[in-house]
């Protein structure tokens, strides 16, 4: 493997990893930016996505169905949770949200264990994406290229949604001054439920997409929530472009860090976070804290 093909393969590896990290981070940061809630259950929604994806593939025989159904169901559960529980807590301080979303983590995790069992479950890559392409004579999985594309499409999609649509406008307005938006006759509660559902749905989308790489397993949630927090902290709490930048940065540091310094593979991400916190405590694109 010569240097050029090595760099190409590693960069694509990093971008495919960045896509998965982005799905995790962006939902968390949207929820935080608009609702000021740290959603501790985010990793569990990611895991739920993977298991829902498995079942959807099993029932319908189509990965694409999983890609649609997983986020929809998880998003629905998220929105219902916001309406049923979170909504009653907005007048309390932040620790209440931490407690109740942590509780949700335990309950959902246990439900997943009861429904799907303890074994890791395999999700097949759809036939159309299971091949390889040769990049400068090096084989590269088509599915990873698909992940990169999916990440780019979703990133552009969210950006356009926030900037161009009326709902996006309401969401941005709510994040700046919820009371004013409310006074103008908008149902702020509905906006909040929607955004919580969308955030959870994005995490689940990441879970469905990650399942063919990792299989759906009960260990997913714990790892995912840490990654998600790291992305959000590096990118800046509540910053959508920040989460995209952070995902790419973390993925490159991980891929190349692991290659050159395998003994520090686990530390690389946290060192990056430490560095960012020292230089810019509010995150790369966050408002200074």
């Amino acid at each position: 493997m010569d240097l050029l093909s090595f760099l190409l393969v590693q960069c694509l590896n990093a971008l495919s990893q960045a896509a998965l990290l982005f799905f995790l981070g962006v939902g968390l940061t949207l929820i935080f930016g608009i609702m000021r809630i740290v959603n501790f259950a985010h990793g569990t929604f990611y895991m739920l996505g993977a298991f829902l994806g498995y079942s959807a593939v099993r029932l319908t025989g189509s990965f694409w169905a999983g890609l649609v159904l997983g986020p929809l169901v998880a998003g629905g559960i998220g929105a219902a949770f916001e309406m049923g529980l979170l909504r009653r807590l907005y007048k309390r301080d932040d620790s209440a949200f931490l407690m109740v979303t942590f509780g949700l983590t335990l309950v959902l995790g246990e439900i997943i264990r009861l429904v799907w069992g303890v074994d890791a479950l395999q999700v097949q890559v759809p036939d159309s994406l299971s091949g390889i392409v040769f990049l400068l004579d090096e084989p590269f999985p088509v599915y990873r290229l698909f992940l990169v594309a999916a990440g780019a499409i979703v990133a552009v999609g969210i950006w356009q949604f926030l900037e161009r649509t009326r709902l996006g406008l309401l969401i941005r307005a709510t994040s700046q001054n919820a009371e004013m938006v409310h006074a103008l006759g908008v149902d702020v509660n509905l906006v909040r439920s929607g955004i919580f559902g969308i955030g959870c749905g994005l995490a689940a989308l990441g879970g469905v997409l990650a399942a063919p790489l990792l299989s759906a397993s009960l260990g997913m949630a714990g790892n995912a929530i840490i990654d998600a927090f790291v992305i959000v902290i590096i990118g800046g709490m509540g910053s959508f472009p920040g989460s995209l930048l952070a995902a790419i940065l973390v993925a490159f540091v991980q891929v190349f860090g692991t290659y050159y310094f395998p003994d520090f593979a686990m530390a690389a991400m946290y060192l990056l976070m430490l560095l960012v916190l020292v230089v810019r405590p509010g995150g790369l694109l966050g408002k200074e804290a």
Binding site: S130, L218, G219, Q254
Partner: protein, 395 residues
């Protein structure tokens, strides 16, 4: 209310008394097992084997006329948690015998405390060679196949293979490093070239960079010391990169959970097996039949090996007539048991069971939902069991 408070209290007291009477009478066995985290799947297998065994024994009237009571606690494979949970079992529940710990670093954390707790620990899975080497304590016994033994079987098989150059990837904790060390020395002894190894943190999700490293190493074969979710993720991703077309994947242990979760990605994998369900002997046939009647499928690798450890415990307790540590220890030393792998000896010198080693290849069979391991070589106990207290072999 029709039931008076007094009646309720009386009933509760009686229930409490019977429970206490039963508890004093039962043989309590501590099961500090990882049920959550990346090794939770293995923990579930091992726990299932213990429960199956306890049910079998209790159905026949128990051990020494006493029922077996399993006290299960989740350790999440965290050594500090494991030590705390076992301490609680010993102090609160009066446990004097434990088994079913999943990870070697948990086991290594527990063994220095066994004397203080006056408790015997019969390993069902722990592979690190040091447990019967430099870290051996009198109250530790290992009826299962150790990491060095699994690796040894694979390297014995390699001696006759045309592959020349090897690379390795292992989990970055005690077991991974220990087995890789043994593989390196055994591969060199077999006249092979060892190009190096890389260690991935437990819980690694993306193996793409590791796959790049393996591909770049120019090795003919890559030795894997991976378990649980990490193993599944690696095999799945290696298949997506077509790694198997360039490099033969070898592994210390081929476990069915990994095969089932990675599907066709595991086909062609060659490795050691601690327990292949296809073994042809009366004990194993009876075990497999009973297991199938209970669970509707064949027993898997960790289930079979943990079950063997339970059989050793049972024979030890029957011989000692007690679960007291001193008596049980004396009974276990030198004990010969006919288990699912045939007759095995718990040798007295380092408390390791001498038993055969198996090498299997994962193949696809018609009519089976998942690929299955097929035994391609069996080595006698004296070939795979290391010299006493050692992790290296002499031939």
């Amino acid at each position: 209310m029709s039931v008076s408070r007094r009646v309720l209290l009386q009933t509760a007291a009686v229930a409490g008394m019977t429970r206490r009477a039963f508890a004093a009478d039962s043989i309590k066995i501590g099961i500090p097992v990882a049920l959550t985290g990346p090794l939770g799947g293995i923990g579930a297998q091992m726990r299932r084997a213990c429960e199956f065994w306890a049910k079998q024994v209790n159905a026949k009237g128990g051990l020494l006329g006493r029922p077996i009571e399993l006290i299960v606690e989740d350790t999440a494979a965290n050594p500090a948690t494991t030590v705390r949970k076992v301490q609680e079992m010993v102090e609160r529940s009066g446990v004097r015998l434990i088994t079913c710990i999943v990870a070697s670093n948990e086991a290594l954390a527990v063994v220095p405390k066994l004397a203080e707790w006056d408790t015997i620990f019969v390993s069902g899975d722990n592979g690190d060679g040091r447990l019967t080497g430099e870290s051996l304590v009198p109250n530790f016994f290992r009826p299962n196949v150790s990491g060095p033994m699994g690796t040894r079987a694979v390297t014995l098989w390699l001696r006759d293979s045309p592959m020349k150059k090897f690379y390795g990837i292992g989990m970055d904790y005690a077991w991974g490093h220990n087995s890789m060390e043994v593989f390196e020395s055994e591969a060199k002894r077999a006249g092979k070239e060892f190009l190096g190894a890389v260690f991935s943190p437990t819980g690694t999700k993306d193996f793409s960079t590791y796959i790049t490293k393996i591909r770049q190493s120019g090795a003919d074969g890559c030795y894997l010391v991976l378990a649980g979710d990490d193993n599944v993720a690696f095999l799945t991703q290696a298949k997506q990169y077509r790694l198997g077309e360039k490099v033969q994947l070898l592994t210390e242990q081929v476990d069915e959970m990994g095969i089932n979760a990675s599907g066709d990605a595991s086909v062609g994998l060659i490795g050691g097996s601690r327990y292949p369900a296809a073994l042809d002997n009366p004990q194993n046939k009876a075990f497999v039949a009973a297991w199938q009647a209970e669970y509707g499928r064949l027993p898997q690798m960790f289930e079979g090996d943990q079950y063997q450890s339970c059989i050793v415990m049972q024979a030890g307790i029957e011989k000692a007539g007690s679960v007291e540590a001193a008596k049980l220890r004396a009974a276990l030393e030198g004990l010969v048991v006919t288990s699912v792998k045939g007759p095995i000896t718990m040798r007295a010198c380092d408390h390791q069971a001498e038993q055969p080693g198996f090498v299997v290849k994962v193949v696809k069979k018609d009519g089976m939902e998942h690929p299955v391991p097929e035994v391609i070589a069996t080595y006698k106990a004296d070939r795979v069991t290391p010299p006493c207290n050692q992790m290296v072999y002499t031939d």
